[in-house]
């Protein structure tokens, strides 16, 4: 604490104060004041299906430039088929077997993946609380599957929050990442995105906008630097 | 010399009250000593447009070389000399963007500790214009009635382009010169590497930069390179000459004066 006080006093003096007493943040709410975002957030909840489809198109257009592969699924069944196809076509990278880590999320439970994948000789593990060896399994995994609850069309970015049953590493350690995104979770731009983040922003979280990439060797773009080498985003528009 | 007699230039200056204002020539020191013909060319252009001229005697240097090298006291003295010389002038017009930038933007900064001097500096700075800017923005001239039967590429000098925002005006003027073909070079706004004392202190870097500029000039296919600042042009000309290249280097005033070669 002594080092904190000395440090802050030095700054206080540098900014023209006498440095005798330190200013208390609680006395200066204006410095932290931000505009009320509730109205903007509410607006994003009132979008028509048509408007949401337009946002999905924008998301897909931007995604193309980021090498993020998009799909549309009109039902859980369709989404499940897309996932199976992706997993069948992807070779494992960190183990000889095909292992899939699945976030604990109702939409992912609804996909009924363990049963379907077992038939294809793909092992799926849930990351739900109480599951064992999540880290060790993730290290070997071919794919991590998540269900982001917010996405920004203008940047083709999804949010992953740090929640029980939804480890960070699911979108990081496996060879590829698959995200199941509900159509209604897409908002337009940075302003709407941050307005909707609201309380999330108090938690650890990450925005993800494509597969891991680098251009550090002669500015040649290469996907799959340290994170997943592919990101598949399935936009779920439940009409059936 | 076909210009000057037709009286049919596509200009509106004749209806512009500004046209009645007298222009005080502010001749950059380099032009004064090394390129006086550029000053003469300006006189020719203004005469043709019927603009009354004066040349306040006692001009030396605006102080920019000292200023850029950090010698602000010396720059301040030069600034004071300039302000006293031009304080009574109506419009001050200079054939160099960087000198105008010095007077307009840097003089007031030099006197930031003296509000009264700063006000005087601002007042002079406001009336100080670069040549092409003055013709186009103040007089409404786009056609000086000149002819120039050459392929010309234009170099955007740094302070002219970035500090004064002048890039359209010289092109408007060049595009209205009869028989002149304007060809844009790659990276026309990239620095030529002059930088005042920089070119003396770091000649190897300066040369590398001017070589880049020359590469782009040659690649453009133009046989003349033109600009609005003799210091950059001297640098380019000096290197072209050393390399034995035949591309000609001229100030825009020389083209606008219609001295057909």
């Amino acid at each position: 604490m002594a080092e904190r006080t000395a440090f802050l006093k030095k700054i206080a003096i540098a900014t023209g104060q006498d440095g005798e007493t330190l200013r208390d943040p609680a006395d200066f709410p204006a410095i932290f004041a931000s505009e009320d975002q509730d109205a903007l957030a509410a607006k994003t909840h009132r979008r028509s299906h048509e408007e949401l489809l337009q946002l999905a198109s924008l998301f897909e257009d931007v995604a193309k430039t980021l090498n993020l592969t998009c799909y549309r699924a009109a039902s859980f069944k369709k989404a499940q088929k897309i996932i199976v196809k992706i997993l069948k076509e992807t070779e494992p990278e960190f183990s000889s077997e095909k292992i899939v880590m699945v976030h604990d999320h109702p939409d992912l439970v609804a996909l009924n993946l363990p049963e379907v994948l077992q038939k294809k000789k793909i092992t799926s593990y849930s990351t739900a609380r109480g599951e064992k060896d999540i880290r060790a399994r993730s290290e070997k995994a071919l794919a991590g599957i998540t269900a982001p609850e917010l996405a920004m069309a203008a940047g083709a970015a999804i949010v992953q929050r740090d929640l029980p049953g939804q480890p960070r590493s699911t979108s990081l350690l496996p060879s590829i990442h698959i995200a199941l995104l509900r159509l209604e979770n897409i908002v337009a731009d940075y302003d709407e995105f941050y307005a909707r983040l609201g309380k999330y922003s108090e938690e650890a979280m990450v925005f993800i906008s494509g597969p891991s990439k680098t251009a550090d060797i002669e500015a040649v773009l290469v996907h799959g630097a340290h994170g997943p080498r592919a990101l598949h985003c399935i936009i779920l528009d439940e009409v059936e | 010399m076909s210009a000057g007699s037709s009286g049919t230039f596509n200009n509106s200056f004749l209806f512009n009250p500004m046209a009645k204002r007298k222009v005080s020539l502010f001749i950059q020191c380099l032009v004064d000593s090394m390129f006086p013909h550029v000053g003469e060319a300006m006189v020719t252009v203004f005469d043709r447009l019927g603009i009354p001229l004066e040349y306040p005697p006692g001009q030396t240097c605006c102080g920019q070389p000292s200023f850029n090298a950090g010698y602000q006291k010396e720059a301040r003295k030069a600034a004071l000399h300039f302000i006293e010389l031009f304080e009574d002038s109506e419009d001050i017009v200079c054939p160099s963007g960087s000198c105008v930038s010095m007077v307009r933007h840097d003089y007031p900064e030099l006197f930031k500790d003296s509000p009264k001097m700063q006000e005087r500096a601002r007042a002079v700075g406001k009336r100080c214009y670069e040549f092409s800017e003055y013709l186009v923005d103040q007089l409404g001239v786009s056609d000086c009635g000149a002819t120039f039967r050459r392929k010309v590429t234009y170099h955007d000098s740094c302070h002219l382009y970035r500090n004064l925002g002048i890039d359209r005006q010289p092109r408007v003027l060049l595009n209205n010169v009869k028989e002149l073909e304007l060809i844009e070079m790659k990276d026309s706004t990239q620095c030529c590497g002059f930088g005042g004392t920089f070119s003396i202190n770091y000649p190897e870097i300066s040369t590398a930069l001017v070589d880049e500029k020359i590469k782009n000039i040659l690649a453009s296919g133009a046989d003349v390179v033109c600009g609005c600042d003799m210091s950059c042009l001297m640098n380019i000309k000096g290197r072209l000459s050393r390399l034995g290249e035949t591309v000609e280097v001229v100030h825009i005033a020389e083209i606008l004066a219609g001295s057909e070669k």
């Binding site: 080092e3 440090f7 700054i11 003096i13 540098a14 900014t15 208390d24 200066f28 931000s34 880290r135 203008a154 970015a157 939804q166 590493s169 990081l172 941050y194 922003s201 650890a204 979280m205 990450v206 925005f207 990439k213 680098t214 550090d216 060797i217 002669e218 040649v220 799959g224 630097a225 340290h226 994170g227 | 509106s12 001749i27 032009v31 004064d32 090394m34 006086p36 005469d47 043709r48 019927g50 040349y55 005697p57 006692g58 001009q59 200023f67 950090g70 010698y71 004071l80 900064e109 706004t189 620095c191 770091y202 190897e204 040369t207 590398a208 001297m234 640098n235 000309k237 290197r239 050393r242």
Partner: protein
């Protein structure tokens, strides 16, 4: 001595065709690209001004913001340490590492970690440490230093990298960027999974939420902050914003400035040990807030603006001088390019870094491209002024008294037209005696030699403009006053 070091390195870089091509590529793509973006989207100006204003406000209230940030992080169970010097930051890190028996550290790309020289401290403590950003990793393997804030290995070509990886980590020889990237992916993955501590920097800290926000495209920074049990984030004290709205604005400028991206691949927010019930993430989180010379800059209104820098590296991508001499020529300092030319002298001594202060043309491209419009040319001029006369506050010795004498002499002439024109005459007669070709002087002596080594010099004209005016121009016959027909045909487009 330092001057020759700068110039010698510059010469080497200029002669290195491959380096020139590599820098050209990123300057064309990112530098020219960003300048065009600012031009094509003038509405971005509002965003830029907003961020600058927020930065300005935050710098003036930095004590409050940092107190709030520290409180927020501590409330979440994170540790905050305030380090006035690089040494304090190093000591804290090393002691923590020793206490926790850390054997291996992975590092996410952080300029500040280089600034405080943490690598040497880790090595001295016998702790293995690995850079994980691909470019930084390659530079580390090559026992070199980065040459660009965003593209650390821009000076290395694929042949060099292929040989390096084959030699140092035993990968099959290849010059194919994807194959080389894959080799590094494999090698570094093992380290991420084994490391006991991750050290990252901090791009933007949010005071209100107590989060450190980091951007990356490779995912190495997420790995560094997620896999090891301890996460140490190094933060320059000026990196803080008040709230998420300011974060939103600054993030956009950062990713646009760095690589013309709307958003980087990953933007992570962390501010404490992993939350209850979450299966992965660090057990311990330490935020080290570092001054290391910044409060001195903050206290000087001439230079405090430089603390608004968001470290995007855009100024390197437009600087003609950087484009020629590359990052290593800046006396092998941590920060190169225009931003380095201002902060390195302020951090490490203006005399010692005099070449960085003086080695620019003042073309102003950095000011045009800077997302927060930092006036770097203005600050370079202020640094030069200190070198010109000496300066007590910054402990600057006058660099060259003879030079001052010369400028004083010229200064006298500038206010005395007679003296000025006498000088002109003297120079004219000197130049006349020098060798000529095509009406140009080809070889000067004295300071002029630096010019004529590579360029010819136009002579001083026989008659100056001042003399021509006096002798003929002021009495020239004016063209006869023309009576224009104002009936309308001459009305120009400007009307």
């Amino acid at each position: 001595m330092s001057e020759s070091f700068y110039r010698e390195n510059a010469k080497k870089a200029i002669a290195d065709d491959k380096l020139q091509a590599a820098i050209n590529l990123i300057q064309d793509r990112f530098g020219t690209g960003l300048l065009n973006l600012w031009k094509e989207k003038p509405e971005m100006d509002e965003l830029r001004n907003r961020v600058k204003a927020a930065k300005d406000k935050n710098l003036k209230n930095l004590d409050i913001l940092l107190a709030k940030l520290a409180d927020s992080v501590e409330a979440r169970g994170g540790h905050v340490f305030f380090a006035e010097t690089a040494e304090e930051a190093r000591l804290y890190t090393i002691e923590l590492a020793k206490r926790r028996h850390v054997k291996m550290v992975v590092k996410g790309k952080s300029m500040l970690s280089a600034e405080i020289k943490i690598d040497q401290a880790l090595a001295d403590a016998g702790i293995e440490h690995w850079e994980t950003d691909l470019g930084e990793y390659l530079v580390q393997l090559d026992k070199d230093i980065p040459s660009h804030i965003i593209a650390p290995a821009v000076h290395m070509n694929r042949e060099h990298i292929g040989d390096l990886l084959a030699k140092r980590i035993g990968t099959p020889l290849s010059y194919d960027p994807p194959a080389l990237t894959l080799a590094a992916r494999k090698a570094l993955r093992r380290k991420f999974l084994k490391a006991d501590m991750g050290i990252t920097g901090c791009n933007i800290a949010v005071a209100e939420t107590g989060q450190v926000s980091l951007v990356s495209n490779e995912g190495n920074i997420r790995m560094t902050g997620t896999m090891p049990p301890i996460h140490v984030a190094l933060m320059g004290m000026e990196r803080v914003v008040a709230n998420m709205q300011e974060h939103k604005d600054m993030l956009q400028l950062l990713t646009l400035g760095a690589a013309m991206q709307k958003i980087s691949t990953y933007v992570s927010f962390n501010g404490g040990p992993v939350a209850e019930g979450c299966p992965d993430g660090p057990q311990e989180f330490h935020l080290i807030i570092i001054d290391n010379g910044r409060s001195k800059i903050l206290a000087d209104e001439t230079f405090s603006e430089i603390l608004s820098c968001i470290r995007c590296g855009a100024c390197l991508n437009v600087c003609p001088v950087y484009g020629k001499i590359g990052g290593h020529s800046y006396n092998r300092a941590t920060y190169s390019g225009p931003i380095g030319a201002v902060i390195e002298p302020l951090f490490n001594g203006i005399n010692a870094q005099a070449d960085l202060c003086k080695g620019e043309t003042l073309c102003g491209a950095c000011l045009k491209v800077c997302p927060v419009k930092n006036n770097i040319p203005r600050m370079l001029l202020a640094l030069r002024e200190k070198l010109a006369y000496g300066d007590e506050k910054w402990d600057v010795e006058q660099q060259n008294p003879l030079e001052e004498l010369a400028f004083r002499g010229v200064g006298e002439a500038m206010v005395s037209p007679r003296l000025w024109h006498t000088g002109e005459k003297v120079v004219r007669s000197i130049m006349k005696k020098k060798p000529h070709q095509n009406d140009m002087v080809t070889a000067m002596s004295g300071p002029g030699r630096a010019w004529t080594d590579d360029r010819d010099l136009p002579p001083i004209a026989e008659k100056s403009f001042a003399r021509l005016w006096k002798e003929k121009l002021q009495n020239r016959p004016l063209p006869a006053e023309k009576k224009e027909d104002n009936s309308g045909k001459d009305e120009g487009e400007e009307k």
